[in-house]
């Protein structure tokens, strides 16, 4: 019995979404095969990685994570510039956490100023994230969308309860959007359809099926993503073909595994390498499951994953 390559024929393809402007613009998505099965399709763009910064200093981040950003987190623009210039990261994700009623309740106008300052400091693409407070995000994301006009950003996240205003302003200002739902294949599809029904171009959407950290529900995210990708590629379902986003950094860096010191739990070993590896392993598993864009926090974890991505793209 000779070996025959068990090739499958797929009809679906992930949309290619371009973000940012000029030389530093980045394309994500575009594959017409399951993750890294290059023998039966094309994978034109590697999964992209954005580094997360926020609009307030990283005071409550664990030590391991604060260290690489020492001295730059007081000013979001300086922080962003540091990420582009010193770390060489290709996308920045700015989380407007201080707009949350419990974390500062900053006004949309203040958030817009931060966004302008960050955009002024960098030339790489920007992902602008709200605080995920359903009501507040509608006000904030509308205003920051306008402030970022012309820069082809990703605005996020639109959820079932608040997508209309957020999508309308993202559309009016020519941005891309993240559609988030809660760990359910049908809900993810539903969210994309709702956006399309209001006239949002399907090729400007990115799907966030909700991520979890390794050990804290990762298996649910992993399987939901695999199923979305199968629906997109094998069943050629256009409502499932937006690229997938994994917003993992903030979940990973609140897990005990990334925080507990070696003296507290000696059997877990060095806290620094452990935290970095925990984020990198979370990221690579999401990439296996189909992620096209990851939002991460630790520069070393990003570097490790990038090296592996380079090897994944080589045939």
């Amino acid at each position: 019995m000779p070996f025959v390559v068990p090739k499958e024929n797929y009809t679906g393809r992930i949309y290619t979404v371009e973000i940012g402007t000029g030389e530093k613009a980045v394309k994500v998505g575009g594959a017409n095969t399951l993750p890294y099965l290059g023998f039966e399709g094309e994978i034109p763009n590697p999964p992209a990685i954005a580094i997360e910064i926020q609009d307030i200093p990283a005071k409550d981040w664990p030590e391991t994570l604060k260290k690489p950003f020492d001295g730059v987190t007081d000013d979001p623009a300086a922080w962003a510039r540091f990420c582009e210039k010193e770390l060489g990261v290709g996308i920045i994700a700015l989380r407007l956490i201080s707009t949350h009623p419990d974390y500062g309740d900053r006004k949309p106008e203040e958030a817009a100023k931060t966004v302008e300052a960050v955009l002024g400091a960098v030339s790489v693409p920007l992902i602008i994230l709200g605080s995920e407070h359903v009501e507040k995000d509608t006000q904030v994301l509308k205003v920051v969308s306008e402030a970022a006009k012309g820069r082809n950003c990703i605005i996020g996240k639109a959820q079932e309860e608040n997508y209309k205003t957020i999508a309308a302003s993202a559309m009016a200002n020519n941005h891309k959007i993240i559609a988030m739902s809660q760990l359910d294949v049908n809900l993810a599809k539903q969210m994309n359809i709702l956006l399309m029904q209001m006239g949002f171009d399907k090729e400007r959407i990115l799907t966030d099926p909700m991520s979890s950290a390794l050990g804290y529900g990762l298996e649910y995210t992993y399987s939901v993503m695999e199923r979305i990708r199968l629906a997109a590629i094998v069943q050629n379902d256009p409502a499932m073909q937006p690229p997938l986003v994994s917003d993992i950094g903030r979940n990973v860096w609140k897990a005990k595994e990334t925080i507990a010191s070696e003296s507290d739990i000696p059997e877990w070993g060095s806290v620094e390498e452990r935290g970095i590896t925990f984020e990198a392993v979370t990221a690579i598993s999401m990439i296996m499951a189909g992620s096209d864009l990851l939002i991460m926090r630790h520069p070393k974890a990003i570097e490790i994953v990038k090296k592996t991505i380079n090897e994944l793209m080589e045939r």
Partner: protein, 448 residues
Amino acid sequence: MALSGVEIFKHLPKTNCKECGHPTCLAFAMKLAAKQANLDSCPYVSKEGKEFLSSASAPPIRPICIGHGDGSVKLGEETVLFRHEKKFVNPCALALSIDDSLPDTEILKRIDGVKTSEIERVGQKLRVEMISVGHTSSDPSRFSAVVKLIRENAPKIPLILNSKDPAAIESALPHCKGARPVIYAATKDNTEAMVKLAKENSAILGVYAEGLDALSSLTEKIKGMGLDDLVIDPGASTPRRMIEDYTMIRRSAIKKGFKPLGYPIITFTSSKDVFAESMKASIGIAKYASIIVLDSIERWKMLPLITLRQNIYTDPQVPMQVAQKIYKIGDANEKSPLLLTTNFSLTYFIVQGEVENSKVPCWLAIMDVEGLSVLTAWAAGKFTAPKIASFILESGIGDKVARKELIIPGYVSILSGALEEKLNSDWKVVVGPREANALPAFLKNRAA
């Protein structure tokens, strides 16, 4: 590959004699296809028919058991490509590579690393299961001595004898009597000698060939020589080739019933950089490897890898859960605080761990919400004030504590008013912290 009823029918006598207890041969075939009958019930099926049917009904990926006794590991038997379809069956084994060029002191250290690698997570005890003995010394007697040293110090740990030199393998095998090691590997150049050694010593044979064409010809040849307990390695050394080759192997075996690749996969993730090795090992865990041989097993590296393996191999249909019960932590008495949480294993073990950390004896009330986390259970309507109240009241814990105070998770603070109403008037509800890691401080404060 599972056969359909009609395909099975073709190999039955077609006489409809009813002796199998079914009205027709076809009816019996249908039951066989549904795995509700046993082929032995038909006395008239031909020898050829029997051979064909039993080989076709064998699992697409051969089950392999390595080692002996309570240290042994079971691999293979997988039936699907994606974990949402059905639980992945046998978690991959993790192995540490120990080279025979290392000094004995270093070797003993590494053995100890494997023996003490256990990490407990969500109630499961997880560890590095195997040792792979590398042979770079090019001295068969050194190889043999190192295998002996490892066997003496870690008799329960299954071994991979990693050498392509039959002389080295032969010199080491006497130390592995009855221990079912893996011999790694047979190649096209040493096939006869390795097959002979594996057969004589009832060892598992690793088969190495570059690429899937060469690999499947080689396993076919070896099977023809009467050996079927194999693990295979197509030599995929980059992440991309690992994913492609291992997917092709799993697909060929499961979807095409291609027997020459229906064996567990062994992979060596050795890299110049330890972080790169963790990435390759992660890819192996997610993408179908059954044995992953690592260059190093630092604890900080194993925690994420072991966690990933646990995640990938959990049952997608049934969340891991614990029984509904009021658990006593430490020496809890009538003055000890009472805490409430859900019966999702992850939630329970995190909370229990933190309560233990606090050193404050407590009562921990675990409510059955079908294995959902606190917020998921709340959002699903399974962790509501009336349900919690009846669980607490019926549990009888009220008679065991002096102060009828129930501490609830911070994330469901919204329940406190309604819950206080539903519980009898002598109960008080206290909102605890949101994250369990704030519990030790919270409990110590209350005790003070």
